[in-house]
């Protein structure tokens, strides 16, 4: 009997958080309301990697970033003589009334007690430090600069801190290492954030101040955790499951005929598979995650249902996409071969 083909669609797919179904594909989801995310992982002194929404790009040259050395393999941005500026063109902060800003910061020498701007967007927000404490400024609806200043924080030299400033319509919050260190009510915030403006980083001209993993989101998220979980594409290995119904028991599924419309992310180890087959529609995935090639070499699987589990793996920067596919199957004859009657001689 000729082999049949079963199309692999995702209408009924069961998906974990971090994945979104779009048309006929399943994609890794980006960070909600992401305005800007800079990992500063580009080893080119005049460029940096930039994420916004579900897009990704590298901005370089053009004076967008000035004299910003990137140090070592684990790269971050450091200050230099001039304040460094990020100009995220084509980004729109207009018409919102809440914002979250987070970044890692380290200072190698003692601060002199003056207010130092670590991050600033003109007339919108400022985050900085003052000796061993932090401050943050938001502008309320009357244009008054409201600055909250911490006390007794005891910041020390040569230590990375994770700073998170949250602006909601009626309240501002400042977190250090995910602990609330200052907050205040405000009389509403300016909603006209403008479309294009410069974000100044390390404006205080401290040569030995470093910043990394800058995240700006257009929503008030109280705790924005650093690094990988908040890279645009999750490192949390989200999974999607789909079950195919042959329509008859004991179908023979043919993994060697498994194929997808686009196999790019299978080939670059971005999507791994596990399979199971049964007649009672109870998936049981176990064992190692397999590449598409390894899955094709599994041999036939028997059952009315074929269950496929897809694990999405990302280095944090690459969005993985699962496209529709197909798999071969055929029926198998379960009628036992006819046996010739045994002649038992009678005596």
């Amino acid at each position: 009997m000729a082999n049949l083909e079963k199309m692999i669609r995702y209408d009924q797919a069961v998906m974990e958080e971090g994945l979104i179904q779009s048309d006929t594909t399943i994609k890794m989801a980006g960070v909600n309301n992401l305005y800007l995310l800079c990992h500063f992982e580009t080893a080119n002194q005049s460029s940096f990697d930039l994420h916004y929404g579900d897009k990704y790009g590298v901005i370089s040259g053009g004076g967008l970033i000035s004299q910003a050395p990137f140090l070592g393999k684990n790269l971050y941005m450091s200050a230099n003589k001039s304040p460094n500026c990020l100009a995220p063109y084509d980004l729109d902060l207009g018409g919102i009334n809440q914002l979250s800003i987070a970044f890692a910061v380290k200072v190698d020498v003692q601060w002199d007690g003056s207010f130092k701007n670590l991050l600033k967007r003109s007339s919108k927000f400022i985050i900085g430090n003052n000796t061993t404490n932090l401050f943050a400024t938001a502008y309320d609806s009357s244009g008054t600069a409201v600055t909250i200043v911490t006390s007794g924080l005891g910041l020390t030299w040569d230590t990375w801190y994770w700073v998170n400033f949250v602006i909601s319509p009626e309240h501002i919050y400042l977190y250090c290492n995910n602990v609330l260190v200052a907050d205040s009510v405000i009389d509403g915030i300016l909603e006209d954030w403008g479309i294009v403006d410069f974000i100044h980083i390390l404006e205080s001209r401290l040569r030995t101040t470093y910043i990394d993993e800058l995240i700006i989101r257009k929503e008030a998220v109280q705790i924005l955790k650093p690094t990988s979980p908040f890279k645009p594409y999750s490192q949390d290995l989200p999974k999607a499951e789909v079950s195919l119904d042959a329509g008859f028991d004991n179908a023979l599924w043919l993994p060697n005929e498994l194929g997808f419309l686009d196999e790019t992310d299978f080939n670059n180890e971005g999507i791994k598979i596990r399979v199971d087959a049964d007649n009672d529609n109870t998936a049981d995935f176990s064992g190692d995650l397999l590449s598409l090639e390894q899955t094709r070499n599994l041999g036939t699987r028997s059952g009315k249902y074929l269950h496929l589990e897809f694990s999405f793996i990302s280095d944090g920067n690459a969005q993985r996409i699962l496209y529709p596919g197909k798999v071969g199957l055929k029926s198998q004859c379960l009628i036992q071969p006819r046996r010739e009657p045994e002649l038992i001689p009678r005596f």
Binding site: N117, T144, S151
Partner: protein, 74 residues
């Protein structure tokens, strides 16, 4: 531009507030720093005991002012 500073002692659960109508250095106002709108050009120190917020100009070191803060329950 008005500036409101809220000093927060999160451990003690206390907040003090200062509202400053204008912040500028009388000496440096004519130089290239302009009207000193920027926080990075001031050195500030708040004493929780006396509730005095002292602000100096980073550029010339001049004392800009001593401001008495009010405790706030916000």
């Amino acid at each position: 531009m008005k500036k409101k500073f809220v000093f927060v002692d999160q451990g003690a659960g206390r907040k003090f507030q200062v509202l400053i109508e204008q912040l500028s250095c009388p000496v440096c106002i004519e130089d290239e720093l302009g009207d000193l709108p920027d926080l990075s050009r001031f050195r500030g120190n708040f004493d929780f005991d006396s509730r005095i917020f002292q602000i100096d100009c980073v550029n010339c070191g001049r004392r800009i002012g001593d401001y008495l803060a009010q405790e706030t329950g916000d």
